[in-house]
């Protein structure tokens, strides 16, 4: 592992620790008590999901315009990391909901619904990539899906919001945590921490893909030695000394 990569790992670890420390230092909420601390891992995870998929969309558009293999790799890596953080966002949201609002899944929360839909759409993206062998075809189809998938996020979100306004079902009275100065600081620190972790993970994922590509290319060429390489030029030294 290169020094850059090692420092990346250690830096991420250090920031993660700092984030945890700050989360402990932040005061408990007036209404939610200690449960508000879950916000410090839930909100950054959700933010990262959107960032990751937005980056993937930008990379997909770049591929469609420039046909650059790097753009395709960035899109795929970003979606992988994005799906990971989407899962964390959903899980932490459910863990937050249970003790605070009494239910794992709040049907009234449009954002959780949108996040869940995003999760499944991008699982589909990863499944699509896994199903295609040819790199050009894979890049092209993923790019199209990468753009469409992110473009539908606002549409899905608004649909659910409008559905909510008509469907006044059991409304969970949810006081937003009144942001104390220290809470805000803790949140910002964790947002920064998680963003750096996102960058580190994507970089590692990218380097892994590139290394696997080189390995695959080398294996393919090794299996097919050039025809005729079995025929060598005559060794004149041997003949002369015979």
């Amino acid at each position: 592992m290169t020094r850059f990569e090692k420092s990346g790992l250690w830096g991420a670890l250090a920031l993660l620790t700092a984030g945890a420390v700050v989360a402990v230092w932040s005061p408990p909420d007036a209404i939610q008590g200690d449960y508000v601390r879950i916000m410090f891992v839930h909100v950054p995870s959700a933010w990262l999901a959107f960032l990751a998929f937005g980056v993937a969309m930008a990379a997909s558009i770049t591929w469609l315009v420039k046909r650059s293999p790097t753009a395709d790799a960035v899109a795929a890596s970003s979606v992988s990391v994005g799906v990971f953080f989407t899962a964390l966002a959903l899980l932490t949201g459910m863990i937050w909901g249970r003790p605070v609002w009494g239910t794992f899944w709040d049907w009234g929360d449009a954002r959780m619904m949108t996040t869940a839909v995003m999760f499944f759409v991008y699982l589909g993206y990863l499944a699509l990539r896994r199903a295609i062998d040819d790199p050009l075809q894979r890049a092209r189809r993923s790019a199209v899906l990468g753009v469409v998938a992110f473009a539908q996020v606002p549409i899905v979100h608004f649909s659910v919001v409008w559905w909510r306004t008509l469907h006044q079902g059991p409304t969970i009275v949810r006081p937003d945590p009144t942001i104390d100065g220290r809470m805000l600081a803790a949140l910002l620190v964790n947002l920064f921490t998680f963003t750096v972790i996102y960058v580190v993970l994507v970089l590692f994922r990218l380097r892994l893909s590139s290394a696997e590509e080189s390995l695959r290319a080398r294996m393919l060429s090794a299996e097919n030695p050039l025809a005729g390489s079995a025929v060598a030029s005559p060794d004149l030294e041997v003949l002369r000394n015979a």
């Binding site: 699982l123 075809q137 469409v148 899905v156 659910v160 469907h167």
Partner: protein, 222 residues
């Protein structure tokens, strides 16, 4: 411009003719949807008031989940050879998309119409004034699903896992259509105007059309 519509109409006609001969939608998908509607009360209970209330919603869910199979029918799957032939005949890829989506929309409308009596008989949903708007919503849903289905089919064309992957891609993307259709009915039930949700459906359909037009030439290269 005329040539575009002629080509689209030809592609649609070809699709519908094949469907007419194979009869997959008529003989297989419609009964499949009907069976699903039949099975559901066994799970949720046959209390008449309950069924009255959920009937309309279940109809739309079945239309979406099972209707997408109409878009993925085998007859719609064209191999690289057929696509090359169409390209050599200078068929505009956007016209191909429009024709295929058009044929699928027509078949979906047929699917919806066929399942309507089934849901009325089994669930007896509450009738609404202004049900004409529900029909309009149905047509908008048919067009929208047809476009999503055609897009998903072209993205997964030729893949071994196409039959499972394509539905996975379509299902979450059809959420706005589901919300639009069900809320048109619910608004009418509540005596409100359905126009917000009709506008949603129109907007989604327009967006899908734009996506289809933009991506058709790209997918042609595959």
């Amino acid at each position: 411009m005329n040539r575009f519509w002629l080509q689209a109409a030809e592609v649609a006609r070809k699709d519908l003719l094949i469907e007419g001969r194979a009869g997959e939608v008529l003989h297989i998908t419609i009964p499949f949807g009907a069976v699903a509607l039949l099975l559901l009360p066994l799970a949720v209970g046959t209390d008449l008031t309950l069924l009255e209330n959920i009937g309309a919603g279940l109809y739309w869910v079945i239309v979406l989940l099972f209707g997408m199979l109409v878009a993925f029918r085998q007859t719609a799957d064209e191999g690289p050879a057929q696509r090359d032939m169409l390209a050599m005949m200078m068929v505009d890829p956007v016209a191909r998309f429009a024709g295929k989506a058009g044929a699928t929309a027509a078949l979906l409308a047929l699917f919806e119409a066929a399942l309507l009596p089934v849901v009325v008989v089994l669930y007896d949903p509450v009738p609404v004034g202004g049900w004409g708007w529900v029909v309009v919503a149905g047509l908008l849903v048919a067009v929208g699903m047809a476009m999503i289905g055609t897009l998903a089919a072209s993205v997964t064309a030729g893949l071994r896992t196409r039959n499972t992957l394509a539905p996975l891609l379509v299902a979450p993307l059809s959420l706005p259509l589901l919300v639009g259709a069900t809320q048109v009915y619910n608004s009418l039930l509540g005596g409100d105007s359905p126009f917000v949700f009709l506008t949603l459906l129109v907007a989604v359909d327009l967006g899908l059309a734009i996506v289809g037009v933009l991506t058709a030439p790209i997918m042609e290269e595959t």
